[in-house]
């Protein structure tokens, strides 16, 4: 079995998430080749074949050109799976490649299953096992689902170049909204989920965060509702965090949320539902009503 992994490079840097692709290929036990539109000064530490195109001439985001390069490498390598990360880059490019090759695409794979792949469905409440009906397929893997693997070594370079005009014209980046907090560096995070019920209760969670000496985090519905700024969101479309302590208050534990916080050293979940999926990764689960438990805990901590 053979995989062609599509590495990620952005704003002049090789992204670490590229190693998650190698983690996936490792679990699959597949031979690998990699393709990267990047730079020779930023090579991945891996000893296999690397098809390298220069981002300075091909552009960091030029989907038509990148697609061409990938098709070129597919022809040379004849892989069974062409694997992307399910990032904005992979999200955009993978279906173009699948359509050009007329093969199936399996999106947002979270685990391997016998002979197939597991993907989440129904807002990650359930999973399904999917298989491509015939031979080759394009796969995107969920960020954080496969542990990164950094095998070391120096890649065997195969340089690619492509010419052609872009169908899309890249005009520029717009600065991201400014962040008032950097959760990535926080040692303790206390997060509010939909279970807090209303905006007024954010302050209750904030008070607990303060008592523990940590920062406030949030799940996506809390951010979408406008209760908390996006810079506090934890998960695939927010921040990926790895604090010493993570306290999830009224968070069910959807895969997109877990992807952002499962690397925390110690996880406490406070939830009124003892079967909430967050219990699966929590070290400690407190089955309680937030409205009673959180103020009591904050008060106790204040006395300590």
């Amino acid at each position: 079995m053979k995989t062609l992994l599509i590495g990620e490079y952005r704003e002049g840097k090789l992204l670490d998430s590229t190693y998650e692709l190698l983690g996936f290929a490792g679990q699959l036990g597949a031979e690998t080749a990699m393709l990267l539109v990047g730079s020779e000064t930023q090579l991945p530490s891996y000893g296999g074949t690397l098809y390298l195109a220069d981002a300075a001439s091909c552009g960091e985001y030029n989907p038509d050109l990148h697609k061409k390069l990938i098709l070129d490498a597919v022809q040379k390598e004849n892989p069974d799976y062409i694997v992307f990360l399910h990032s904005s880059y992979g999200w955009d490019l993978a279906p173009r490649v699948a359509a050009a090759l007329r093969v199936a695409q399996l999106s947002e794979v979270i685990a391997l299953a016998d002979g197939g792949f597991e993907v989440g469905c129904c807002n990650a409440k359930m999973r399904r096992t999917v298989k491509p009906a015939a031979g080759r397929a394009v796969v995107t893997i969920q960020a954080g689902a496969f542990p990164a693997l950094q095998p070391g070594g120096i890649p065997l370079l195969q340089k690619l170049s492509a010419a052609g005009t872009a169908a899309l014209e890249f005009i520029g980046y717009e600065a991201a909204e400014k962040k008032d907090v950097d959760l990535g560096k926080a040692e303790i995070i206390v997060s509010a989920g939909r279970g807090i019920g209303k905006k007024d209760n954010v302050s209750m969670i904030q008070a607990l965060a303060k008592a523990l000496g940590g920062e406030l985090g949030a799940s996506r519905p809390v951010v979408d509702a406008g209760w908390v700024e996006h810079s506090h969101q934890v998960g695939t479309t927010g921040q990926t965090v790895s604090p010493k302590l993570y306290v999830a208050c009224g968070i069910s534990g959807a895969i997109q949320h877990l992807a952002g916080m499962k690397k925390a050293d110690f996880i406490i979940a406070i939830n009124k539902d003892k079967d909430a999926p967050i219990g699966e990764i929590a070290d400690v689960l407190v089955v309680a009503d937030l409205m009673q438990f959180v103020p009591a805990l904050t008060a106790k901590l204040a006395k300590q």
């Binding site: 173009r96 399996l106 129904c122 929590a282 309680a288």
Partner: protein
């Protein structure tokens, strides 16, 4: 010029369960809603209608009862709603779905040029993100994904300028028309139907196009035309973390147990 929104009727996933015997979703008795991402696609098509005078068409592939969803689209203000429904369209994966939608868009394009096709970013029941891009590549339209703002359309140069939402930043891009755009939630706030429109919608005609209209090769659509196999659907198994105390009947006592735990792990600075 037409602006098309592709909308799907989905079971409200906050309420679905699976049948342990057949491993399929139990859809009986579960309310249907417009796929939440698609409601943003629909809203934006109405915005372009208002801003540029385009004709707005809503397309939905699904069973006959998906008519209810299209009626909602009428109540919100689309000019035309078409249901793509045929037994042989059933059981389709994303590739086969994009084939049927593409055929319908091509057919509309013969009556009036299609400028923009909006799709939701993904659906909440299937959670894949390929139907829109499948349409774009089939029809040779430009593809813009993860769009959170339509900056402007230039009808003379036949281009559209949008903002895309990427990880931690935005990107501005311009692409030639016709274009297929997948949208994210931040794009807009879907409107609510007003009562007179809702009443009027009850009288509107919803066209149904089946395969006698679209004339697709039955081997390339529906279940037969789907290269992805789903072998089972299941709820993930889980090991439980340690449950401490009884926080429901004794919240205060449980705080002590939790604090001891934190002290034991040296996570509290006393």
């Amino acid at each position: 010029m037409l602006v098309i929104s592709c909308i799907k009727q989905v079971p409200d996933t906050t309420q679905v369960k699976i049948d342990p015997v057949t491993n399929t979703l139990i859809r009986d008795g579960i309310p249907f809603i417009i796929n939440p991402y698609d409601s943003h696609a629909l809203e934006e098509s109405l915005k372009l209608k208002e801003r540029y005078g385009l004709r707005s068409v809503a397309l939905s592939m699904g069973p006959p009862n998906a008519e209810a969803t299209l009626r909602k689209a009428y109540a919100l203000g689309v000019d035309e709603a078409i249901l793509l429904s045929d037994r042989c369209f059933g059981g389709a994966d994303t590739l086969a779905t994009s084939k049927v939608l593409s055929a319908a868009i091509e057919r509309l394009n013969k009556q009036d040029k299609v400028g923009v096709v909006f799709c939701g970013k993904q659906t909440i029941d299937g959670d894949t993100a390929q139907v829109g891009p499948g349409i774009a590549s089939r029809l040779g339209f430009s593809q813009l994904t993860l769009v959170d703002k339509i900056e402007s359309i230039d009808f003379l140069r036949k281009t559209i300028k949008v903002r895309r939402k990427l990880e931690g930043r935005h990107e501005i891009v311009e692409a030639p028309l016709p274009v297929m755009i997948t949208v994210v939630r931040e794009l807009n706030r879907p409107r609510y139907p007003v009562v007179p429109m809702r009443i009027a919608a009850e009288e509107m005609e919803i066209k149904v196009w089946d395969n006698s209209v679209l004339k697709l090769d039955v081997n390339t659509i529906g279940l037969k035309g789907s290269p992805t196999w789903v072998s089972k659907i299941f709820s993930p198994e889980r090991d439980q973390g340690e449950i401490i105390g009884d926080g429901i009947t004794d919240p205060v006592g449980t705080t002590n147990l939790l604090i001891d735990k934190l002290l034991g792990k040296e996570l509290l600075t006393v």
